[in-house]
């Protein structure tokens, strides 16, 4: 087995890992290795082709792939080394650490070439989170084709050019569920309802507004799926109302005939790799235990991003990755001074805050500003906006509502079948259907680069249609 020696290793090249690796380099750590299991950096951002990223951290509204590209460029400039297509199997204490030096961690990696070992003084886990599958939900019924978690469906639709179904019900009104409701609607899938067991939607009000309200998609709160039907392919789901305690209310059963069920019912921080290193996970919350710097109970092992707890905004993930990178660098500089502060399961306070914040419903005669995650609720009297943009938004929403459209176009000869695109600014809301119709027949040639103009003055709106990702030429077409 091949062996390589590094100063710091970051596992996972999503937003947290990229920010951490850049920060480590920025702090003067020499040998920084970022390990990614996919072929590309960016993590889940690559499939999040919608906008809303960077509003807090960069003051601009980017799509997921654009945001990932910005960090990828910073990563290249930083000089951190990237190992992609590599799966970390295990992290161990390195028994061969030289005496008197920092005890090193041994990271065992599987790539197409086989197994290799990398050692480093500090390891940052930025392994993200995974979706709760159907099996973890205890929904009775059959197990046919047509049941997808929202993220998996998003990957198939946005990156693989595949449609999971034609009539769908979405369980869970978290942001991913809401985003997928809009995304699938744009692609011609009929969304019968978004079902939420709580009394209020789980996602940001701005997403309820721009993803459901805009398209007239019903949101059914205080309800859950109680049965699943269909032998080969899904034929329907039963939805029942639930009481305050979550118990199913008798006599509230309703059948939705659909061929697809999208599950957006929660994300679980992924710490299985971390646990091979011995990191402690809190029994009650399932979250890893760290100090304020993300330093775990295992000295030299840090955790950041959604592996620590599930964040609402990528901007917060990037900031946390950067802070953790700096903390790990400081720890390395100090020669591993053991100043572990009291530790607690990550993000519990943030979670409580999040829950408190979401206990607000939006009144009928006000408008939710969709320009940033603050989701200001602005009344007809133009009160309630935290900034001037909100007032402008409401005025425009009355006079000529417009939306930024994010979707994808067909790519010929590329390593991927589609490239994500966006309008450079809002287009009239009333023309979105027409725009999608036109986009369906567009074909562009690989290679594609971020920011390429696909169609100037798209549909005479004065707004351009731009690509938001890179697509290389396929090997076969070269």
């Amino acid at each position: 087995m091949k062996r390589f020696i590094k100063d710091a290793i970051v596992i996972g090249a999503g937003p947290a890992g990229m920010a951490a690796a850049i920060a480590l380099k920025g702090e003067g750590v020499e040998q920084v290795l970022l390990i990614e299991r996919d072929d590309h950096t960016g993590g889940i951002l690559n499939q999040c082709i919608h906008d809303g990223f960077g509003l807090v951290g960069m003051g601009k509204n980017y799509t997921g792939p654009e945001y990932a590209e910005i960090y990828f460029r910073r990563l290249l400039e930083s000089g951190a080394e990237v190992l992609s297509g590599a799966m970390v199997k295990e992290i161990q204490e390195d028994k061969d650490s030289p005496a008197g030096e920092l005890p090193r961690k041994k990271v065992i990696v599987q790539t197409a070439e086989g197994e290799s070992t990398y050692t480093a003084g500090a390891v940052i886990l930025a392994t993200g989170c995974r979706e709760k599958p159907r099996g973890a939900l205890a929904i009775p019924g059959s197990r046919p084709a047509g049941i997808y978690t929202a993220g998996t469906a998003q990957n198939f639709v946005n990156l693989k050019n595949l449609l999971p179904g034609s009539r769908a019900v979405i369980l869970g009104s978290g942001d991913i569920g809401l985003i997928m409701a809009r995304r699938l609607t744009l692609e011609g899938v009929e969304i019968l309802a978004v079902i939420e067991k709580e009394r209020v939607p789980g996602g940001l009000p701005r997403n309820v507004s721009q993803c459901l309200t805009d398209f007239g998609i019903p949101l059914v709160t205080g309800a859950t799926i109680t049965n699943i039907f269909g032998k080969s392919r899904l034929t329907g789901v039963e939805v029942c109302g639930t009481g305050e305690d979550g118990a199913v209310l008798p006599g509230t059963s309703r059948l939705y005939e659909c061929d697809t069920l999208i599950l957006s019912v929660g994300l679980i921080p992924e710490n299985e790799v971390g646990q091979t290193a011995g990191i402690a996970v809190d029994e009650s919350t399932g979250l890893p235990v760290t100090d304020d710097d993300g330093h775990s109970n295992v000295e030299g092992v840090f955790i950041c991003g959604n592996a620590l707890f599930v964040h609402d905004l990528v901007d917060d993930v990037s900031a946390e990755g950067e802070a953790t990178g700096r903390a790990a660098a400081a720890w390395l500089r100090s020669g591993g001074a053991s100043d572990l502060r009291p530790v607690a399961a990550g993000g519990i306070e943030q979670r409580k805050l999040k829950m408190a914040n979401r206990r607000k419903s939006v009144s009928q005669d006000s408008i939710v500003c969709i320009l940033c995650p603050n989701s200001c609720e602005i009344g007809m009297d133009l009160k309630g906006a935290m900034c001037g943009r909100g007032v402008e938004y409401v005025k425009r929403e009355f006079l000529s509502p417009s939306r930024t459209l994010t979707t994808s176009v067909r790519v010929c000869g590329g390593e991927r079948p589609t490239a994500s695109v966006r309008t450079s600014d809002g287009i009239p809301k009333s023309r979105i259907a027409e725009a999608m119709q036109s986009i369906r027949s567009i074909r562009i040639k690989a290679p594609v680069e971020v920011g390429q103009v696909v169609t100037a003055d798209f549909l005479g709106t004065g707004v351009d249609l731009l690509t938001t990702c890179n697509v290389k030429k396929s090997v076969a077409s070269e």
């Binding site: 299991r37 297509g85 799966m87 199997k89 599987q110 790539t111 197409a112 086989g114 197994e115 995974r130 979706e131 599958p133 159907r134 099996g135 973890a136 205890a138 009775p140 019924g141 059959s142 197990r143 046919p144 084709a145 047509g146 978690t149 993220g151 998996t152 990957n155 198939f156 639709v157 990156l159 693989k160 050019n161 595949l162 449609l163 999971p164 179904g165 034609s166 692609e187 109680t226 049965n227 699943i228 032998k231 080969s232 392919r233 061929d259 299985e272 646990q275 399932g286 994808s408 176009v409 067909r410 079948p417 589609t418 369906r440």
Partner: protein, 478 residues
């Protein structure tokens, strides 16, 4: 097409019969209505090799189970699959269970079961500190295996020895008589002629009998539901643990089984149902199963459940009769040449090889087919170029179970090699990709991509569970 022997049903018993008969100079076919082998009850059970103390002394069940258990290690070696003689504990939780436990012990001794021992509470704790019980029956011969791989290996070995398989091939009519049967499927292209018919159609064996004019049997489907527990709990369970079964139940009671893969199975329930292939989970049963599993092992939490599934027992006893009828293994008196295998419920898997030997005996008593001199007693893995399957050393497709892309492609090739129709379930059964805690959220995308790029499979044709359960309904862009 003309064959000497046609076996109806590619479950473990049908495959074992095919495998056994392939030693002789006979032209053998197996027909199966599903897309692949092990898609019925052979793939939906606890995966336990039973010792044979649960069955009535003098019954065929007892005799064949004891035989099958004794020779299972040799069978596993011949087929190249894993088998672990874990031993098993039947525990009397309360004093009133002791008489039934002792009766089980006596019955086991009378059946010739080796390795039985009655133990006290301290010895129970010695086996596993989490176990409870006032008295226990320890069975040293019991073990666990992978029922998918067993059933698949039998089919592969049979094919290596010249047996032909026909999938998506449902017998709808049986014409003719001994020595000249004609099996029709409703499709003129798919008609098959046979001198012998072996009915190993499991849940549908009564219907197949009726096609041949034999009205003597009725199968009462009795569903058994299970929960699968995350591998992270593997350390808690070293041996299968069972309650003392009640005689009326017609099942062994809800038990815990440590599978070879490190998961724990809770189940099965026992519910008589209307429809034979109703593999759905029922809400109240799911709750009850969990509670009973939790009683046997208090460390198990609901969040440890990663999936639920169900199998259906093909019982010859109705709900009112309860208990067990014996296996039926015989040539029909009214239709010579038609061999009936019905009521093959638990311990059918354990008994599958001895059942096959009995069938071979029936045929050999009537004609002397003679042994083939090119018969290969061991599975030689010759079905694909990469034999035996590559493990590791390549890019990982399924991160939960660490299954490489090479293993996925090998499984696909093996499905094709036996004439089965590739499905995601077939790949999952052979590799475990998608059986882990994320339930395919990550690897399903990789597998779809891999099959398209490396085997030219159009994703739109890909099926989930069976040949009708398409995964996708179209493309987002033409």
């Amino acid at each position: 097409m003309k064959f000497d022997v046609v076996i109806i049903g590619a479950g473990a018993v049908g495959n074992a019969v095919a495998d056994k008969l392939s030693e002789y100079r006979l032209k053998i076919a197996v027909i199966e209505k599903e897309a692949d082998t092990a898609f019925g009850i052979s793939g939906r059970n606890s995966g336990v090799v039973h010792a044979g103390f649960n069955n009535k002394t003098g019954s065929m069940m007892a005799e064949l189970c004891v035989q099958g258990c004794r020779s299972f290690a040799e069978t596993a070696g011949r087929l190249g699959i894993e088998f672990k003689r874990t031993g098993k504990l039947v525990t009397a939780l309360h004093d009133e269970d002791i008489p039934a436990l002792m009766k089980l012990y006596e019955q086991g001794l009378a059946n010739g079961v080796q390795g039985l021992e009655i133990i006290g509470p301290e010895e129970i704790k010695k086996i596993n500190k989490d176990f409870n019980g006032v008295r226990g029956l320890w069975s040293g011969m019991t073990g666990v295996f992978d029922p998918f791989l067993y059933t698949v290996a039998l089919a592969e070995h049979a094919v290596e020895n010249g047996v032909r398989y026909f999938f998506d091939f449902e017998a709808k009519r049986i014409n003719g008589s001994a020595g000249a049967f004609v099996i029709e499927t409703g499709d003129a292209e798919k008609t098959i002629e046979a001198r012998w018919i072996i009915n190993s159609a499991g849940l549908h064996s009564d219907e197949i009998c009726r096609l041949a004019g034999i009205d003597d049997y009725v199968i009462y489907p009795c569903r058994g539901e299970y929960h699968i527990i995350d591998r992270k709990m593997a350390g808690h369970l070293n041996v299968p643990i069972y309650p003392v079964p009640s005689e009326k139940a017609g099942g062994l009671g809800v038990h815990l089984t440590p599978s070879l893969s490190g998961n724990i199975l809770i189940g099965p329930s026992a519910e008589y149902i209307e429809e034979k292939e109703d593999y759905a989970d029922a809400a109240e049963v799911m709750e009850k199963l969990f509670a009973e599993g939790n009683e046997l092992m208090p460390a198990i939490r609901k969040r440890h459940v990663i999936r639920s599934f169900a199998g259906v027992r093909p019982k010859l006893t109705s709900k009112d009769q309860g208990g067990y009828a014996d296996f039926v293994i015989k040539e029909s008196e009214s239709v010579p040449g038609f061999i009936i295998l019905t009521g093959i419920e638990s311990p059918g898997l354990t008994s599958s090889i001895p059942i096959a030997e009995k069938v071979a005996g029936i045929i050999a008593a009537r004609e002397n087919p003679g042994r083939r001199n090119d018969y290969r007693p061991k599975r030689c893995w010759t079905l694909t170029e990469d034999a035996p399957p590559v493990v590791g050393g390549a890019r990982i497709a399924c991160r939960c179970e660490m299954i490489s892309e090479a293993e996925i492609l090998d499984a696909f090739d093996r499905i094709v090699a036996i004439g089965a129709i590739p499905t995601m379930k077939g790949i999952k059964n052979r590799t475990r990709a998608g059986m882990g805690r994320c339930q395919g959220g990550f690897c399903s995308v990789r597998i779809v991509e891999l099959l398209e790029n490396k085997r030219g499979i159009d994703p739109l044709s890909l099926c989930w569970n069976d040949r009708d359960g398409r995964m996708f309904t179209g493309r987002t862009r033409p």
